[in-house]
Assembly symmetry: C2
Homo-oligomer: 202 residues x 2
């Protein structure tokens, strides 16, 4: 009972939804199981601890987001246009979240970085790996754009980190104001941060 | 007993320190009182609720930070140099925090924005006011720089918000990596975001 094949998935879905709504610290195992509709015993059958569950939620969310980032950033479009599409997709995702539940939940990885990175080293390390992967994906696109003479930036790694930092900062404002309009600035700011040589077709 | 003149200050100090370490949700009133060394009864003598305490902690922290921002941003130095000094002061504060307690605690307002803005409207509104005040202070400096022909930005408000967003995003990375080096990029990125006309003396 409760250890049916879908109990683990139900726990993950409930945990993800509760973490997006209220963060990690405010959650208890009992509440997660109640929301998931599974007995508490099944939680510890699938997960060693609340931390193990958090890591599983993070991994599942990143697997989906990485597929989306890969689809966009490894596309055939011109490099800077791919970055633009990434920002538009981010805005669309946040808008869809607001449309469905009334609030903008922001970036799960940014949320958990600020909430948890000084509390559990396992979560800190996982989030570091995810942001490193994001920065690498953005850096690859910047490197392509530079080879085409479209951007003038000297240090592609630092530039990529700055683009992701700008994204996280504007998503913070979108969440705080419960309004996606701060994300409108991402494309222009990205061009400025990269020292784009010429006005890119918009 | 416990309602002595310094009990309120002790509760605020303990709460601030615990919020910086672990965020708001993970805290209980009993723990705050134990850390402060005051009986639990005095908590409710001074604060109606944990939320009221959070607002008091936020207000006290912003009063101190606003004094620092005002000192730097309303200085006689050239406008862009004042922004540079703001970034250097931010980096020094984060570094001092790490030197004293081993971890970078980040920006309390950014931390609480991501943790709490979808949980309590009173905290959300207070944090909105604080970030609006920060953006206004930065915008005033950008407007001065533009009047001197040093920056080319069209919309000073959006530019100021982008500078603060970049600050929050890089502070997020500093906290995640427990390393202040992402903050090294703030000055160069600020010049890029503002479309600084000429290489400013560094």
């Amino acid at each position: 009972m409760g250890r049916t094949s879908d109990a683990k998935e139900k726990i993950l879905t409930a945990a993800r939804s509760l973490i997006e709504l209220r963060g990690y610290s405010a959650l208890g195992v009992a509440e997660i199981c109640k929301t998931a509709g599974v007995p508490k015993g099944s939680f510890y059958y699938f997960f060693e601890s609340k931390e193990a569950l958090a890591l599983a939620v993070i991994d599942e969310h990143w697997a989906a987001e990485r597929r989306e980032w890969t689809r966009i950033l490894k596309d055939d479009a011109e490099p800077l246009q791919r970055l633009r599409q990434l920002f538009e997709a981010t805005q669309a995702t946040q808008q869809a979240g607001q449309d469905s539940c009334g609030t903008i939940s922001g970036c799960m990885f940014g949320n958990l970085s600020l909430e948890m990175s000084n509390q559990t080293e396992a979560v800190r390390e996982r989030l570091q790996e995810i942001f490193e992967a994001q920065v690498e994906m953005v850096e690859a696109v910047i490197t392509e754009a530079r080879a085409r003479g479209e951007v003038t930036v000297a240090d592609t790694r630092t530039a990529a980190q700055s683009v992701v930092a700008q994204l996280e900062g504007q998503v913070l404002f979108a969440k705080l104001y419960n309004n996606t309009s701060p994300l409108n600035a991402l494309w222009t700011n990205c061009l400025a941060l990269l020292g784009a040589r010429t006005p890119v077709q918009v």
